[in-house]
Symmetry: C2
Subunit: 267 residues, 2 copies
């Protein structure tokens, strides 16, 4: 039997994920600030919730994929949310939160007998459509076991677990995004030099991605930069995620030289 | 018939390359400032030259793999070097030179009827032993055709050509090294955070290099950093090569924000 799922947030990544979950046979109740985005899914059998609380069922599963700490924390702390989720309920938090926020929210869930599972996502919306997402998890073991099939159905080609400790999966997500953004910024600077020197950037990308960097990140962003496509990435995402990395690093006394430079490029 | 080869410079990369060339059947005449390093090769049939000029034969092939602009330029401009190399001679310059220096030297060779081929190398000494080097080339077509089998014999698993324009292969080499050093510095900063947060760095490397970054650079440096191996890379190489990238970028009005930060980390 497929879990009924409450879903919060229909952004660029949320929409294909909901499509995948419904295609896999899950019954969905969806809340989005702009209810107009829910309508196409209602046509296919989903229920549109009027408020976040209405996606929650006692002991059930809720997935959230929102913008930032504040948007998730506001909903979790809203009247009735944790009380209704109750004993055995699982909240799968897919938003890229700060590890500190996740720690606070995970503890709050535990106090109410439910569990929050960190499950941030690597992958662009096209990858969600193709079920090629990578998801990293952390949280209580039993809760993770319950929702692993849901993560697969959501579009994960692989789920990597980082144990029970709060913040662990988010640390991996922030590190991964910092590395992606570093690769993008370095490619941009490097290919700008090749362009100026009269060496076709795509020939440099072809050489590098068949030798040293046979990585989808270098291939896809390298091609976009070589083609002169600007705005391929919404600057708000690098700025937010590198900002979270830098804050976490500084709070722990870790050098933030590279992330600080990257943040300055995307702010 | 195998080309007789003159070879200048027996550094960490030069030694395995000379071993490969001799194993492939080339007769070598070798000059190195410290002649003691030439001795083991003399035992196997190489000739030890007393001065750089003695590796040059009229119309022949000379390979140089030295430290920097100054070391190559001093030899090329030394009394008799270009005169003896003469018409049809080919100097394969494998050192990571500045594109400007390479342009000057390529023009000087042309004035004397010979050709300089840029052939900088991607790969550590272990990769040379395994014949897994990547070599990028630029220069006169006929000269490149003549020496391509030599580059293969030297240990290249692949040779990527970037046309006849001076500086083109060096631009690719500098861009590639900047990207490698950027990946190293970012991994170091990222894994320092995972360590502090109690997430085993090797587990992060394993996840990232089987998903977003299935690249030998991320795998090998990630493992070294996760193991806490310091000094895996001689800082002089990043400092020199990122310095060359930054100078080339600044001279052409290209942003050097990322390379500037990297340079500050390795100086």
């Amino acid at each position: 039997m497929h879990e009924a799922i409450g879903f919060l947030g229909l952004g660029n990544l949320g929409r294909p994920i909901v499509t995948n979950l419904m295609a896999a046979g899950h019954q969905l109740t969806i809340y989005n600030r702009d209810a107009g985005k829910v309508a196409p899914f209602v046509e296919r059998g989903a229920v549109c919730a009027n408020q976040p609380l209405d996606v929650v069922s006692p002991g059930g599963v809720v997935l959230s994929l929102l913008w930032d700490d504040a948007s998730v924390e506001t909903i979790v702390r809203s009247e009735g949310f944790l009380a209704r989720l109750g004993t055995g309920g699982v909240h799968v938090s897919m938003t890229t939160l700060s590890p500190d926020c996740s720690r606070r929210l995970m503890a709050l869930h535990a106090e109410h007998g439910s569990a929050m599972v960190e499950a941030p996502i690597f992958g662009r919306p096209e990858a969600a459509v193709d079920k090629k997402l990578w998801i990293v998890t952390a949280g209580a073991e039993a809760a993770k076991q319950r929702v692993r099939p849901v993560l697969r159905a959501a579009g994960a080609q692989g789920v990597f677990d980082f144990g029970e400790q709060a913040g662990a999966a988010l640390a991996v997500k922030l590190i991964g995004n910092m590395l992606i953004i570093s690769a993008m910024a370095s490619l941009k600077e490097g290919l700008a030099l090749s362009q100026k020197m009269g060496v076709p950037p795509q020939s440099v990308v072809d050489m590098l991605t068949t030798t040293l960097f046979p990585s989808p990140i270098y291939q896809s962003y390298g091609r976009l930069i070589a083609q002169g496509v600007s705005g391929a990435v919404d600057n708000r995402i690098p700025a937010k995620d590198v900002g979270l990395f830098k804050s976490a690093a500084e709070a722990l006394g870790v050098s933030a030289t590279v992330s600080g430079t990257l943040l300055s490029l995307y702010q």
